[in-house]
Amino acid sequence: MFRYGSDQSLYLDRPPATANLPALTRIPGVVNLHPAYDSVLIVFDPLATTHEAIQKAARQIPATSAKQGRHHIIPVTYNGPDLAALASHHNISPERVIELHAAAQYTVAFLGFVPGFAYLEGLPQALHTPRLPAPRKLVPAGSLGIAGSQTSIYPAATPGGWQLIGHTPIELFNPANEPMSLLQPGDTVTFQPA
């Protein structure tokens, strides 16, 4: 269940939605958590605690139910530059892409890549699409993209290789908010065509 990360971190191999992140944060000496699909990297102050003490404390924390997140309905204008190509890749109409994408409910697995970037699970199989052959130098903030079995929104303008199918005006990351990211691990998301 635990793997050595570095002399100031270890992995808890449990999906973040059930890992009880608030309780992990409260373990004395823990300074940061980096959740991902199936694991949580627990970063601690090595002068304040040890791998052994963190493991002992983490073992006492029961797994939580995955159904504790908030639900977000995100308005989207489905007009991305890759929508037509993605539709023809799957031999369906752009309207069908929108219908499939907007009908699904997604779960936030974790945030990573850049601040506020949520990896969403639950993309219908019919929309799984490889990344662009070469990443764009600049993807505008609010762009909704697809990469493999994943879908997500770029919270800020950044380079990126995801296929862009739309955009949203919703603010996903604001350092003045607590938490800074609108979407949190375990939250659910549906997209509403604007």
Binding site: S6, S9, Y11, L21, N32, A36, V40, L41, V114, Q184
Partner: protein
């Protein structure tokens, strides 16, 4: 009291000891690339250890002190003034810090600290997200905080201002996928493509013995990733919080300040130590600082 940035050099940012606790939002810790140099500068000036200072890079930059100040320069060696000493700067005096030698980053610490708006309890600049205001530009004016503490000229032991080019590492989570022997025998060049987010190296490519696609997972500070081209990337203070490349090794905490002082073109190597040894080296280093 203020500091006027006449030239920010290659890159100058405000840094304290970082902004931990926001990995869940995809935000890494940021903070001083050489945290020991920052702590020592603050110690000399009688500031709390986490007081913000200017982190200057390679060229150093030029700074005007309209009202004067008491400063200390730590980390890489500046050409302007002796490092690790207290200097009283007269009103109207200009300091041209660089070029820097013996490292990449020099901390311009001031008595009272740099006073900027804090975000989530930290003044640190996180370049990836823009938190903390971004790189300083020519003409920027920074406020100096009040201080009643007394600067003290403490002798800093040489070992705390010496940087290693043989970085000690612990085994990475995916070390089994690699010819580790080649990795530890290779001398690597630090490339130009090196910044606060990551340090890219060039040397004998490390082939993987395993081609499974790994699932993205959290990445620790100092993790050494091996992408498909076999050239290592060390994740640094403004790092991405997660990554999908396998990690062969991880730089130990005691050697992270040395990472912050690597210059493009430097030749470095790696030496594996046990987790127990990594911890012993850190506690030994901390004991030296605490004894000051």
């Amino acid at each position: 009291m203020t500091i006027l940035v006449q030239s920010p050099g290659l890159l100058t940012t405000v840094q304290d000891l970082g902004r931990p606790g926001h990995g869940i939002d995809g935000v890494s810790r940021a903070g001083a690339a050489d945290p020991i140099a920052l702590r020592l500068g603050n110690l000399l000036l009688g500031n709390p250890a986490n007081t913000p200072a200017l982190e200057t890079t390679l060229l150093g930059g030029t700074y005007l002190f309209p009202d004067g100040a008491t400063i200390a320069l730590t980390g890489a060696t500046p050409s302007a003034l002796a490092p690790y000493e207290i200097h009283r700067i007269a009103p109207g005096q200009t300091i041209q810090l660089g070029p820097l030698t013996n490292g990449a980053r020099c901390y311009l610490c001031v008595q009272g600290g740099i006073k900027t708006a804090k975000i989530a309890n930290s003044a640190s600049t996180h370049l990836l997200s823009g938190l903390g205001g971004g790189p300083l530009t020519k003409g920027a004016v920074l406020n100096i905080g009040p201080s009643t503490n007394k600067p003290q000229n403490i002798q800093i032991p040489p070992v705390l201002k010496t940087y290693t080019k043989t970085l000690r590492v612990t085994r990475g989570p995916q070390a089994d996928q690699f010819e580790s022997k080649l990795f530890y025998q290779t001398e690597y060049q630090v490339t130009q493509d090196t910044n606060r987010m990551g340090i890219r190296l060039a040397g004998s490519p490390i082939p993987t013995t395993h081609d499974s696609q790994m699932r993205t997972e959290g990445v620790p500070l100092g993790a050494i990733q091996i992408p498909a081209n076999g050239q290592p990337i060390i994740l640094f203070v403004d790092q991405q919080t997660t990554g999908g490349y396998p990690k062969i090794a991880n730089v130990i905490t005691a050697d992270l300040p040395s990472l912050g002082q690597l210059r493009p073109g430097d030749t470095i190597g790696f030496e594996q130590v046990s987790p127990v040894e990594a911890r012993r080296l850190l506690l030994e280093q901390e004991a030296l600082i605490n004894a000051l």
